[in-house]
């Protein structure tokens, strides 16, 4: 059971094809907890640490999009150019674990684990992010809505891995909000990301930790866009914001578990949605 350490994407493709049952190791912040505390026996490991290309990111200003490598740690999204272009992602990144966790944990790791509580995932859903996947049969692009298919389940095929994620640079307000039991070092009990494209007059909202997958609230979005204008110059009636929150809560599918109750989660996520919408007009 070796640890295989490719140095390039090409080597990674080859090694993964030779060892399709191998486990990919990115920051280790999920996997090592399984090993340390839950008796997981490591299988053949493929370390991504030294595949430099995976931690790169770039902006395509002509297409108004940003592409972030699967291996970029959260710490690199909290500040600077990425935070300026995708503020909701920076806000989500800043709520992940602690500085030590954010120095290690990656976007690709969040997508690989695909936990409903993954902090970056509602942002990717609200922005209609595209996941660039590489595998034995070449490259393919997967929309986020087709990527996350269940609790800790994604649609990656054998020997496929996430190379990078592209998301649009949107004109307008965007934000991420999260409820947990503390201010730092907390896995969310409910989270939400709202993106308001004030050029197009479009809103999108996605929820975390209140269903088996991240949930896009298409019903509430459509209702809001029919009810009012979301363009830059418009104003928000607080009663509309309240009903938006209630409609979002109705679209959530939370459960009772060790972290919270379904009832609390449904309430909290509605409050988050209302609050994010109000913030987008303040």
């Amino acid at each position: 059971m070796p640890v295989l350490i490719p140095r390039s994407v090409d080597e990674l493709v080859d090694i993964f094809q030779e060892h399709p049952a191998a486990k990919l190791l990115a920051g280790g912040t999920d996997y090592m907890v399984e090993v340390n505390l839950h008796g997981r026996k490591p299988e053949t490991m493929i370390s991504l640490r030294q595949v430099k290309e995976l931690s790169e990111w770039s902006v395509r200003s002509t297409q108004r999009s940003i592409t972030i490598g699967a291996g970029l740690p959260y710490a690199d999204m909290e500040h600077g150019e990425i935070a300026r272009l995708v503020p909701a992602l920076a806000q989500a990144a800043r709520t992940v674990g602690s500085p030590q966790i954010r120095a290690a944990g990656t976007l690709g790791g969040n997508l690989g684990t695909c936990s409903p509580a993954g902090d970056s995932l509602p942002v990717l859903a609200a922005l209609n992010a595209t996941i660039h996947v590489i595998g034995p049969d070449g490259n393919r692009d997967v929309e986020f809505s087709d990527f996350m298919i269940g609790v800790k389940k994604n649609s990656l095929r054998p020997a496929e891995f996430v190379h990078s994620v592209s998301m649009p640079i949107v004109d307008g307000w965007q934000g991420y909000a999260k409820v947990g039991t503390r201010n730092a070092m907390v896995i969310s009990t409910a989270s939400a990301c709202l993106v308001r494209d004030s050029d197009e007059g479009i809103v999108s909202i996605a929820l975390g930790s209140v269903g088996p997958t991240v949930i896009r609230c298409h019903g509430a979005e459509t209702w809001l866009m029919k009810t009012m204008s979301l363009r830059a110059e418009s104003t928000l009636d607080p009663v509309v914001a309240q009903e938006f929150g209630q409609r979002v809560a109705q679209e959530s599918r939370p459960i009772d578990d060790h972290r919270s109750t379904a009832e609390y989660r449904r309430h909290a996520v509605g409050v988050l949605a209302q609050r994010l919408l109000l913030r987008s007009f303040s």
């Binding site: 059971m1 070796p2 090993v35 340390n36 370390s47 070092m185």
Partner: protein, 169 residues
């Protein structure tokens, strides 16, 4: 070519880690061993402490390639070709660093279990941000848990070192 680091399930494979500027060979390791375990149990470096083993407490904080991380969440065999710095490697020849002295003078140490993790995290903070605000100190140390001091004296120790370094520079 890729490196096939031969770490095996049970048998006698060997890999090397660079810790505090010295190359150490790790023998007979199990693949699932964390960097924390290898440092403490195989390399004789017990300064990094193990408590939660899930990245919540920060007691095991070390620097890997200039980043402060939880060594309990690093697979040791995956840390080959990195530069690892532990609390033992901060001061020259075992002498106390200014951060360690300030923790003593300001009363930032009680039971001491969390202290090495804090010391490493503070060194890392002041390296990148020599004049942190109180909020920046709190955020930088939000991954290190202390159950004794109530944090006030730890924050004071960080302020003291930052002031000293400014005065001396």
């Amino acid at each position: 070519m890729s490196i096939n680091i031969p770490v095996s399930g049970q048998s006698n494979e060997i890999y090397s880690l660079s810790v505090n500027g010295q190359v150490h060979q790790v023998k007979d390791a199990w693949i699932g061993e964390s960097l924390l375990y290898v440092l403490r149990e195989r390399l004789g470096l017990p300064g990094s402490k193990g408590a939660c083993e899930q990245g919540e407490c920060g007691s095991c904080t070390v620097i890997v390639d200039s980043k402060a991380v939880c060594s309990c969440l690093v697979m040791a065999a995956d840390a080959v070709n990195t530069e690892i710095l532990t609390v033992e490697g901060l001061g020259p020849n075992g002498a106390l660093t200014d951060v360690q002295s300030a923790f003593l003078s300001e009363g930032g140490v009680q039971c001491g279990f969390c202290t090495p993790g804090f010391i490493v995290a503070v060194h890392h903070l002041l390296e990148s941000n020599p004049s942190p605000t109180d909020d920046e100190i709190r955020e930088a140390l939000s991954g290190n848990i202390c159950r004794c001091t109530g944090y006030g004296r730890i924050l004071e120790a960080v302020r003291t070192v930052a002031d000293q370094r400014r005065t001396n520079s």
